[in-house]
Each structure stands twice: as structure tokens, then as C-alpha cells.
């Protein structure tokens, strides 16, 4: 079995010929030296400031009885009143539980599916077949949810292709796209069709970074396909898997919006209500206002942050890199 070579730079252990004393540079000197880099970073910083940090600062209205029509400082602080209202809402807990249910489904059945697809794709040798497979599995990602839901209704709906085919044969009308009992399966099928191929791309990039000589060496040592995958492929993409898993856990309360909103009428709110639709229907349609919606959004953000930190910490404890290198 081949072993991994050290990846340290070749001159890391070289003793310097003479001691170099570097004087600390002034800010002006550093600016003169680094201004092209700063210039390059400027658009990104501006983007972050305008579209991320500034809106984040507005989370403060979750603690106010906010009205856009009065000067900001005249909006009264109401403490955690909006959060109290949020948690006291009888429809909040069901929406939270639905969200966790869909998140768990995604984590357990969708996340590994992308890895499996990437491994399958990696095993295809024919370039034509590989290209066709790649297009088929990831193009649906570019379809809107409206289109995805429409296709499912047209094919699997009560008055859809398969239902009419079954009825033509004397069978019962299919009740799949409006059945709350099978909605979980329907959601998984829609995810699998739309997003599994897209999720595969990052894993494919990670697979491409594995040194092919490792496979050659393993093969010459007699390792079969399964052993090569277990001992080379999976360890090779493990850091990426861990990274994406942590990010996925961080966004566990954000399972999407359109997919559920579009099917709410046909499936019913009890099975489709997730936190994002809850906020929309209670805050926008139900007229609870901006502060209520912000409180719900902040709740999601804080839970997500906590989950990311916990998952990252666990990853570090298990010797993984996580989302950043521990110093």
C-alpha cells in the first residue's frame, strides 16, 4: 500500500544563511506596498458592507415596535416582546418541527446522494457518457421551483400523465401531489431531481484533486475498486465532506421557501409550513409587520450560528480542519 508523501514545501527545513532583521513597516509603507491588493478587495468589502453587514445591523428592529414612517430613533424598544409573540404562536412549533424534519431528510438522504453521484460519475471512463450523465443530473438545478413543481404535477398529479394512464386501465386516480402523507417522499424526489447533481460538482472538484498515482500504486498492490474508494477516494474528499456538512448544519433551519409555498395549497399548510413560509404568512400576509419577521429571521440566524460553532468544534476535536484551520 502506498503512503501519502509529505506535502511540506521543500525548503521548509533549510536553515537561513544569515539572520534577516525586518523593521516594522508603517501603515503608509504597507499601503504603498499593498494598494493593488486592497483595491482588488474593495468591491468585495463594499458588497459585504452594503448587502450583509448593514442589513445585519438592522436586526435591531427585532427589539423595536418598528414603523418605517417614523424616525428610526423614535421607534420604541420592546425588548423580547416579538420573540415572546413568536414562541407563543401556536403555529410556530409545528413549523419548526416541519423544518427540522425536512432538514434531517436533506442531511440523511440528499447529502450522501450527491457524494454517491460524484463517485459514480468519477467512475465513468467514457468522456461522452460522462458528459451526458453530468448534463442530465445537474441541468435541473437551473430550473425554477415553479417549473419543477409544475413538471411533477403534470406527471404525477391527480390529473397528470401517470394518473390518467392508470385510470385509462381502469385503476384509481393517483393522489400523490396533493397527499400530505406522501409529501416527504415527494419533497425528496423533487430535491433529488433538482439539486443532487448540483451538489455533486463540489465533490467532483475534490475528487479531481486526488493524485492519480495513488490509485495506480494501490491497483498495482492489488487493491480492488472498493478498497481504492475506501482507502483513497473517501479520505481524499473527507475535508470537503466535513466542511460542507458543517455548513449544511449551520443552515439547517433554512430548508427553502418556494418549494413549500408553491405546494401549500395542494398539500395543505400543516405538512408544508416551514419557518420561512411561517414568517411569510404571518409577517407579510398576516400583517404582523417587519419586526416580527426580523425576530423570526434572527432566531434562525442565531440557531444556525450556534450549530455551526458546535459542529466545527466537534470537527476540530476529531482532528478535522472544519470550516477554518484551528491555530
Amino acid at each position: 500500500m502506498a503512503t501519502l508523501q509529505s506535502t511540506a514545501p521543500p525548503d521548509a527545513d533549510r536553515t537561513p544563511d544569515r539572520l534577516v532583521v525586518r523593521r516594522k513597516r508603517t501603515v503608509a509603507q504597507r499601503f504603498r506596498h499593498d494598494w493593488p491588493l486592497l483595491l482588488l478587495a474593495l468591491p468585495v468589502v463594499a458588497h459585504l458592507a452594503v448587502f450583509h453587514y448593514w442589513p445585519t445591523a438592522w436586526n435591531i428592529i427585532a427589539f423595536m415596535d418598528y414603523s418605517p414612517y417614523r424616525p428610526f430613533w423614535e421607534n420604541p424598544f420592546v425588548g423580547f416582546a416579538w420573540f415572546e409573540r413568536l414562541f407563543a404562536d401556536p403555529y410556530f412549533t409545528p413549523a419548526l418541527l416541519n423544518t427540522l424534519k425536512f432538514a434531517a431528510l436533506n442531511l440523511v438522504f440528499m447529502f450522501p446522494l450527491s457524494i454517491v453521484l460524484a463517485l459514480a460519475m468519477n467512475g465513468i471512463i467514457s468522456i461522452k457518457a460522462r458528459s451526458a450523465f453530468q448534463s442530465i443530473v445537474y441541468l435541473p438545478h437551473f430550473f425554477s421551483w415553479v417549473l419543477v413543481v409544475t413538471v411533477f404535477v403534470q406527471v404525477l398529479g391527480s390529473d397528470g400523465l401517470i394518473s390518467n394512464w392508470i385510470m385509462g386501465g381502469g385503476g384509481e386516480r393517483l393522489n400523490f401531489t396533493s397527499n400530505p402523507d406522501t409529501f416527504l417522499l415527494l419533497v425528496w424526489m423533487q430535491w433529488a431531481w433538482k439539486d443532487a447533481g448540483w451538489g455533486m460538482i463540489i465533490f467532483l472538484a475534490a475528487l479531481a484533486s486526488i493524485n492519480p498515482s495513488l490509485y495506480e500504486a494501490a491497483a498495482s498492490d492489488g487493491a480492488n475498486r472498493w478498497r481504492r474508494m475506501w482507502h483513497i477516494t473517501l479520505p481524499g474528499i473527507r475535508p470537503v465532506i466535513i466542511l460542507l456538512l458543517i455548513l449544511q448544519i449551520g443552515s439547517i433551519l433554512s430548508v427553502g421557501f418556494e418549494q413549500y409555498q408553491l405546494q401549500r395549497q395542494s398539500i395543505g399548510y400543516q405538512s408544508t409550513e416551514v419557518l420561512d413560509t411561517f414568517v411569510y404568512y404571518q409577517s407579510i400576509i398576516g400583517n404582523q409587520g417587519e419586526s416580527f419577521g426580523t425576530a423570526a429571521g434572527l432566531f434562525k440566524g442565531v440557531i444556525g450560528l450556534i450549530l455551526i460553532l458546535v459542529a466545527n468544534n466537534i470537527a476540530h476535536r476529531l482532528g478535522e480542519q472544519g470550516i477554518y484551520q484551528k491555530s
Binding site: D65, Y66, S67, P68, Y69, R70, P71, E74, P76, V78, G79, A81, W82, E84, R85, D89, P90, Y91, V153, G157, S158, D159, M167, R173, N175, T177, S178, P180, R264, Q265, S266, I267, G268, Y269, Q270, Y281, Q282, I284, I285, G286, N287, Q288, G289, S291
Partner: protein, 564 residues
């Protein structure tokens, strides 16, 4: 409580016919907000009559008398022949301003370079009003954000039914829109004779107050759209298909159910309905404002869901579903009932009366076959039918508060021109376009839209509802007009009394949010996703999460007018 505002409230003397309303509107607030410090979204009750600052009504004599004289607004007069149009505005004021107005549109956005626009612009004096078309299906919800961001141009058209999407619309109005009171107060007949001829009630319904407790803070903030009444909606059926199946027109809900059973054939793609939800309540005597009615026996405000008739209605809806009398994809809300009715797949549609005339026109153009008519008023279990009359204005054109007084006056010049009624050249140009381009005169002398006219003038809202006409008539296909006139006459006996006449009520946010869930739960039962036995639990949940607070709120509003 004063409405949040960045400007000081103005003072104005006014006479409230319902003087208690201002106090009632604010009195509900402490009770609703007592559980926390949150005061926004507490609802509002606004008087809409009894003001002394409205434009003084001065009748604008009609140039042509209608063929059928009714009793407006609930029984409008009608034209069954097209009169020779007469010019209404003899001296058109000259205008040079350019403005932008946001309007909803259902369907494709028409090209903006058609001669229709330039001809209309020249006719009303040269003021250019460019239209920003926005999707009508989402207009109500998205307009909330445009208004808060002050991104709607110089004017915006909002229909009355859209107010439900706005939390605290009073706050939006008094902070966003131009207060027209100083310009329109008193005698305006000299400059705007047609606006002076609008019903006083139209202007009264365009009043909002900065401070609900202070009657002096009320003002006119909108230009009213058409004032109409009578049944605006109905369930329309294909007369030819029903006759072909040897089915009689039902006169009760029980008979209707039998017709549905006789007509429907799920396996062969035939259903009685493509959808039935918002209309069905009145067959079971469920009316009221936001579902609330005063029960004189219990001396209490009662919500529809608390009444036994509600359970009957849900049983009816559930039967339609269980027996496959309604399209299986009805729960999706994505079906096209008009297309299905034209194709003969469904027998009934719950609809606006507008569909009646549209269908007749399509038949004349060869685009549809047969005939549709409305079901007569129906009642269940031997009860009298009930009809909501919807006696109100359709909506408002609001002007941006950032406009100058002269600019507002210029737009009012345009509005005055647009208020010209049926039988005037102004109305003809605005509603039908240019003869030869957008319409031609048919054999009976009435305008018939060309294809271009249908797309560009008939379908879009454009300038046609900037303001209502001095009087609204039933017009269109002569046969349909005659039948509709008779239908209105027959419906008067079943008119439901509006316990909240003379006021505009915006429900508390809690009640609106609970109402949204209540609606979802009703659909769960109607489409077999929940059992009828869950109704008591559903009602209890609603009452505990906004319903009881709303009861208190509507009770105070009711008692402020009718006494305890």
C-alpha cells in the same frame, strides 16, 4: 394613538356623523396591546361619512338618459343601446407635466407606443401620464414594499380588496400620499365639474385620519374609483350544457348538489366545479365584515365560524370533494376555470359578473360557444338566500405626497376628464380607444373591440379607473345588460345588511394572521386533509389567537354607531 408620522398632524374642523368612531378606533388599542409593549398592527376604525371638508356635491347633468332606470347604487341603471356620444368637457385645460403612475395589470403588458396613449393624452389637455404596469396577481402584496420605500412614481392605483395585504394602511396613507383636502374642499364645480358630480359617499370613503382619536386630523387622501353596488359576483353556469343534460336550474343548495351529482363524471373529465371557496358562504347565510355579524338575540358579535351554518357549508364543500364533483387539482388553485368552462369540462365557475359579458362577447367573436348565466340566489335548508351587495368604491388613485400643489391640480384636471360617464366622447375614447384602430361600430351601432383594442384598451386597467364616472351604468352586450339589470332587481330582496356601514375597519394584525390560518384549515377540511370533526378545535384555536380580541374590537366599532 396618533399614527406614526414624520410630520406634525394638521388640524381641521370636521363633523363626524359617527363621532364615537375615532375614540372607538383608538380604544381597542390598549386592550389588544396589553399583553406586551407592541402597539403596531392594532387595527383601525375609520369613519367614512359625516365630514364637512369634502367636495360639495353638484349634480352633473347626464347628456343621455339610460334606457333602463334602476335605483343606484345597488340596482344600477343600464344602457341597452349605444347613444350618440356627447362631449363632456368643453374647455380642456392645458397641461405640460409628465408623471408616472403604477397600475396593476392582469395579463400581458401592452406596448406603450400605441396611438391610444397619445390620443388620450392630447384629448385631456397634454398632461403625460406614463404607466408602470405591475403584475396584478401579486400587486396587493408587493405594493406594500413599494409604498414603504416610496417607489411607486407619482401615483398608484390601489383597489379596495387589496387593503387586506397592508398592515396599518392608515399609517401608509397619511405618510405616503398627498392630502387633497385643501384643494378639494368645498365648491370645486367651476374647475372640476365632473369631480364635483361624484357621489359624496365616494369622497367620504377616501378619507383617512392621522390620529383616530382626533376627528380634526381627517382628510381626503385618494381620488375615488367607481362607486357601485349590488351583487358583484355570482356562480355562472353553462346554460346550454345544463339544458343539454336535461337539468333544471337549481333554486336551493340541495338542488344544486343534485345537479352537481348528475353532471359530474370524474373518469371522463367532467366536474361541476373547478373551484369553490370564497363565494359559497352566502349560500349558507354567512356574510358580514371579515366574517363578523351582530347577533341581536345574543346581543353579541358572532363570527361565522361559530355558527352552525358554517359546519353545514364545510359539509357541502367536503361532499363536493368526496364525491368527485370538483376537479381533483382544485386544491392547487392553479386551474383555469374560464378555459375549462369554455371547453365544457366544468359546469360552474365562481366569478365576477364581468365574466358574464366577456363570455357573451367571446361567443359573438366565435371564440366560445353556448351561453352562461348566473345561478339565482340560493339558500340551504329552507333558509332565505343572502347576497352581499358590496356597496362601495372600487379603490383609489393615490398621489405622491412629494408632488407640488400645481402638479396635483394638473392631475385632478386629468381625473375630471376621466370622470366623464357613458355616452360621452371622453368615455368612448378612454374605454374603447380610437375608432377604426381599437374599435368599430357594430351592426347595432355599439362599439366592438378590434383585436388590438382588446389587447391594448380592454384588457389593461390603464387610465380607465383613475377615477370613477359621475354615475356607473350597466353596459355591454344588450342581452346580458338586460338580464343583469333584472338580476340586480331580483336580488334586492336578499340584500344583506352591512352592520358596519359608514366606517372602514382594518382588523388587528393578530386577527388577520389567525384568519389566514383559519382559511388554510377550512381548505384542509374541504379537500379531505382534515376531518369535519376538527371544526370545534379549529374554531377554538382561532378564537384564542386573535379571534376573541377581534370580537372585542368589532363589538366596540359596532356599538359606537348602533349603541349598546
Amino acid at each position: 394613538m396618533p399614527v406614526p408620522s414624520s410630520t406634525a398632524p394638521f388640524k381641521r374642523r370636521s363633523l363626524f356623523k359617527v363621532a364615537g368612531l375615532g375614540v372607538a378606533g383608538a380604544a381597542g388599542l390598549p386592550a389588544l396591546a396589553a399583553c406586551s409593549d407592541i402597539e403596531s398592527g392594532s387595527g383601525s376604525v375609520q369613519a367614512t361619512e359625516g365630514f364637512d371638508f369634502l367636495p360639495t356635491y353638484q349634480e352633473w347633468p347626464l347628456p343621455v338618459e339610460p334606457d333602463l332606470v334602476g335605483e343606484p347604487p345597488n340596482h344600477p341603471s343600464a344602457f341597452i343601446s349605444y347613444p350618440e356620444p356627447v362631449q363632456a368637457v368643453s374647455e380642456v385645460p392645458s397641461g405640460s407635466g409628465t408623471y408616472e403612475m403604477t397600475v396593476p395589470i392582469w395579463g400581458d403588458t401592452p406596448a406603450g407606443d400605441d396611438p391610444y396613449y397619445t390620443t388620450v393624452t392630447d384629448a385631456w389637455g397634454g398632461t403625460t401620464i406614463n404607466l408602470r404596469h405591475a403584475d396584478g396577481n401579486t400587486f396587493a402584496d408587493t405594493s406594500v414594499q413599494w409604498l414603504k420605500a416610496n417607489e411607486y412614481g407619482d401615483a398608484i392605483q390601489i383597489f379596495s380588496w387589496m387593503l387586506g395585504s397592508h398592515s396599518n394602511f392608515t399609517e401608509t396613507v397619511v405618510n405616503n400620499f398627498y392630502n387633497l383636502t385643501d384643494i378639494l374642499k368645498g365648491d370645486i364645480a367651476e374647475r372640476w365639474p365632473l369631480l364635483a358630480g361624484l357621489p359624496t359617499s365616494s369622497w367620504g370613503q377616501s378619507v383617512w385620519s392621522k390620529d383616530l382619536k382626533d376627528p380634526d386630523s381627517a382628510g381626503v387622501y385618494g381620488i375615488p374609483m367607481g362607486f357601485s353596488g349590488g351583487p358583484g359576483n355570482a356562480v355562472m353556469f353553462r346554460t346550454d350544457l345544463m339544458e343539454g343534460a336535461n337539468l333544471a336550474v337549481p333554486t336551493t343548495v340541495e338542488e344544486l348538489l343534485e345537479v352537481c351529482r348528475a353532471w359530474s363524471d370524474d373518469a371522463n373529465g367532467k366536474w361541476a366545479f373547478a373551484g369553490l371557496d370564497w363565494f359559497v358562504g352566502q349560500w349558507f347565510s354567512l356574510g358580514g365584515t371579515d366574517g363578523w355579524n351582530w347577533d341581536p338575540d345574543q346581543k353579541k358579535m358572532i363570527h361565522n365560524v361559530e355558527r352552525p351554518e358554517f359546519t353545514e357549508m364545510m359539509e357541502f364543500r367536503r361532499t363536493l370533494w368526496d364525491e368527485q364533483l370538483i376537479h381533483p387539482d382544485a386544491p392547487t388553485g392553479t386551474l383555469d376555470p374560464h378555459a375549462m368552462q369554455k371547453a365544457g369540462n366544468v359546469l360552474f365557475t365562481q366569478d365576477s359578473m364581468v365574466w358574464w359579458n366577456d363570455y357573451a362577447l367571446q361567443v359573438k367573436r366565435g371564440e366560445a360557444e353556448g351561453e352562461i348565466n348566473p345561478l339565482p340566489p340560493l339558500g340551504a335548508k329552507g333558509r332565505e338566500p343572502l347576497i352581499s351587495m358590496n356597496t362601495s368604491i372600487d379603490g383609489w388613485t393615490f398621489l405622491n405626497k412629494d408632488l407640488g400643489r400645481e402638479q396635483v391640480e394638473e392631475i385632478l384636471d386629468v381625473a375630471n376628464w376621466c370622470a366623464s360617464p357613458y355616452g360621452t366622447t371622453e368615455y368612448e375614447l378612454l374605454q374603447y380607444g380610437v375608432e377604426g384602430e381599437h374599435f368599430t361600430l357594430g351592426n347595432d351601432g355599439s362599439p366592438v373591440y378590434t383585436e388590438l383594442g382588446s389587447e391594448l384598451v380592454l384588457a389593461p386597467i390603464n387610465y380607465k379607473v383613475v377615477v370613477g364616472q359621475v354615475q356607473t351604468f350597466l353596459t355591454g352586450d344588450p342581452d346580458v345588460v338586460q338580464k343583469r339589470f333584472d338580476f340586480h332587481a331580483a336580488a334586492q330582496q336578499y340584500a344583506a345588511e352591512n352592520p358596519f356601514a359608514g366606517m372602514r375597519i382594518e382588523a388587528p394584525a393578530d386577527a388577520k394572521a389567525a384568519g389566514q390560518t383559519l382559511w388554510d384549515q377550512q381548505n384542509d377540511i374541504a379537500y379531505g386533509r382534515a376531518e369535519l370533526s376538527s371544526i370545534p378545535e379549529m374554531v377554538e384555536t382561532y378564537m384564542n389567537n386573535g379571534g376573541e380580541a377581534a370580537r372585542e374590537y368589532y363589538t366596540e366599532a359596532y356599538e359606537s354607531v348602533h349603541g349598546e
